[in-house]
């Protein structure tokens, strides 16, 4: 089984926009991958004129919100960095207990990379000084234009998601049985505190997406 990877278009967001943007994107992806019985829930963003769809599962919402909070803390410690959040779907395979212990292996079949560039604007400074180089009020206009640009990019990302889920369907495993909202097992990975560890995580994951017979 191959692992399909989708690199979403990079979004330039401000700090206060992260939460909404990530919620929107993560829920949208999961909605198209939670193929069990779902009563869709429409959610309107506050900062943007966008409506996305959730599966309406409280547990999932909590899990996603938690991850977003972790991410936000990470961003605060690493300002002005480009960052990636990875949402991966996997299948759980039990390895045969030959001479290894019964190890559970994850076989990743799909990975989504959400690329964010968090801008740290020096708004606070500019509004206070009156003779600084920066224009006092960068202008409502500029803010509005920027907001519109982010909104347009966000819509593009959502279209990108819809396109991807439709174009590649063959690799999706059979739907697991279960009551209520059923999800494929998935995990959300945010960059860890050290960049290099994050990189290692990615590499490890890539190795795991190989053949089931490959011993890692």
């Amino acid at each position: 089984m191959n692992c399909e990877v989708c690199q979403l278009k990079e979004l330039e967001v401000e700090h206060f926009e992260i939460r909404e943007v990530l919620r929107c994107i993560l829920h949208t992806i999961v909605f198209h991958r939670a193929l069990g019985l779902v009563r869709p829930k429409d959610v309107d963003l506050e900062l943007f004129d966008v409506t996305y769809v959730q599966c309406g599962d409280v547990e999932l919402e909590k899990k996603i919100d938690e991850k977003i909070e972790h991410f936000i803390s990470w961003v605060e410690k690493h300002p002005n960095k480009k960052s990636q959040i990875c949402l991966s779907f996997y299948e759980v395979k039990n390895k045969q207990p030959y001479w290894f212990t019964n190890k559970i292996e994850r076989l990743y079949w799909e990975q989504w990379y959400i690329n964010l560039n968090v801008a740290q604007h020096l708004k606070a400074h500019s509004s206070k000084s009156h003779n600084s180089k920066v224009v006092v009020d960068p202008g409502e206009e500029e803010r509005i234009a920027r907001r519109a640009a982010v909104e347009a990019s966000l819509r593009e990302v959502l279209f990108q998601i819809i396109k991807f889920v439709n174009e590649k369907k063959d690799h999706v495993p059979p739907i697991p049985n279960g009551d209520g909202v059923v999800y494929f097992p998935h995990e959300i990975t945010i960059p860890s505190s050290s960049d290099s560890a994050f990189g290692m995580d990615m590499i490890k994951r890539m190795l795991q997406t190989g053949h089931p017979t490959m011993l890692s």
């Binding site: 198209h32 019985l37 599966c55 819509r155 279209f159």
Partner: protein, 395 residues
């Protein structure tokens, strides 16, 4: 080996999937565009209240009670091979009529959805394991319908739908719909203002399930605003009350039924002409204009749809609904009946700015021509929607 006999046990499954797919798509589209249909619980919580009807579990997407309009589908839909064309129509004031003038209302198709089971000209080899194959087809259809649901919230028409359905004030426009198995092609001018998007098809041997949409990229040219003043009560007789609201001046109907959204004609069913369009219906009204179109089918709605479905999924896996759970209702005598007019007490008027929905979709800008290889010559009665194949072209 006879293809037919091989397909036999599975053709029931296919027909069920296809017909349910059509129903579900219609449900999604109407639910997301037509405010007058009964709203349902959008909270998203499965555990909330009402049990989920079996019929609603198809494709694992619970939408709530189906609008009564969907029941019409069983009668007009002659066979599952017909395309189902859903027009989302904006009823608005004509552009040359200032708000106080006596103006007729104008209808513009702002979205045209085509949902269809496309039958190929050449049938490919049958998949070896048809049961597993149709499970995959079902799974892929689930994904496609999810995508349809999401996409409906991203297109320009969604915003005005939300205005109509959530706001407590009245507007000078309305959204209605028309479902048909054929339609007039768009004029060149109209086409110039629209974009097309096709979802990747789902293989459903021997054919495939397709959804596509042609939509207006911007709605800002329409003067869509809250109405100045509207009487809060329901008006059943509007002809003799010119002093209530100049906005509501309507064409004196020489036709049997007047077609605007401001009336409550639906309450007292006007002289129904149910047989005029056996293969389409529309919300709220009939107009003489509609009947003037060529209709390949005449007569009363043929009840071709078998009832009940003789096929059933044998011991379905957990994610299959297990049977055809709903009954086929008797033919509706009043095709009009579906729209419920609502008048709300006007509140403070607030300027609504309509942003320009210049959507330049990042998805493939050059839509594939309407799968010409899939237009089967075996169905000459089907009029294609796309203008390049339409028999008559406006200017």
């Amino acid at each position: 080996m006879d293809l037919q006999s091989n397909l036999q046990p599975e053709s029931g499954k296919l027909e069920q999937i296809v017909s349910q797919f059509l129903l579900k798509s219609l449900h999604i589209i109407l639910d997301s565009r037509v405010p007058s249909l009964r709203p349902h619980d959008r909270s998203g919580d499965l555990s909330l209240g009402s049990q989920v009807r079996k019929s609603d579990k198809w494709f694992n997407l619970v939408l709530g009670d189906r609008p009564a309009a969907l029941d019409n589908l069983n009668f007009w839909h002659r066979n599952v091979m017909d395309p189902m064309i859903i027009d989302v129509i904006l009823v608005h004031q004509g552009s040359n009529s200032p708000s106080m003038a006596v103006g007729g209302s104008v209808e513009t198709v702002i979205e045209r959805w085509v949902v269809q089971y496309e039958y190929p000209r050449v049938v490919a080899a049958q998949p070896s394991e048809s049961s597993a194959y149709y499970k995959k087809t079902y799974k892929k259809s689930i994904i496609l319908l999810r995508a349809l649901y999401s996409q409906m919230r991203l297109l320009p028409a969604y915003r005005i739908f939300r205005q109509l359905s959530t706001s407590s004030r009245t507007y000078n426009f309305d959204i209605i719909y028309k479902v048909s198995s054929f339609s007039d092609p768009f004029s060149r001018a109209e086409e110039g203002m629209m974009e097309e998007h096709s979802f990747p098809a789902v293989e459903a041997y021997p054919g495939r399930l397709c959804i596509s949409v042609t939509y207006r990229t911007t709605l800002s040219d329409f003067n869509l605003e809250p109405s100045t003043s509207m009487p809060p009560k329901i008006i059943t007789d509007y002809v003799g009350s010119p002093n209530t609201d100049p906005l509501r001046s309507l064409p004196s109907s020489g036709k049997g039924v007047s077609a605007t959204s401001f009336t409550l004609r639906g309450v007292q069913a006007p002289a129904p002409v149910p047989s005029q369009r056996p293969h389409s219906w529309t919300s709220g009204f009939h107009r003489a204009a509609f009947s003037a179109q060529n209709q390949p089918f005449v007569g009363s709605p043929p009840a071709y749809y078998p009832s009940p479905m003789p096929y059933d999924y044998p011991s379905p896996p957990a994610y299959y609904p297990s049977s055809m759970p709903y009954d086929y209702p008797s033919p509706p005598t009043d095709i009009h009946g579906n729209r419920v007019q609502h008048y709300r007490a006007p509140t403070h008027q607030k300027a609504i700015s309509h942003d320009d929905y210049q959507l330049s979709p990042p998805f493939s800008p050059s839509p594939s021509p309407s799968s010409p290889s899939y237009i089967s010559n075996a169905y000459p009665m089907q009029t294609r929607v796309r203008s390049e194949t339409a028999p008559k072209q406006k200017d």
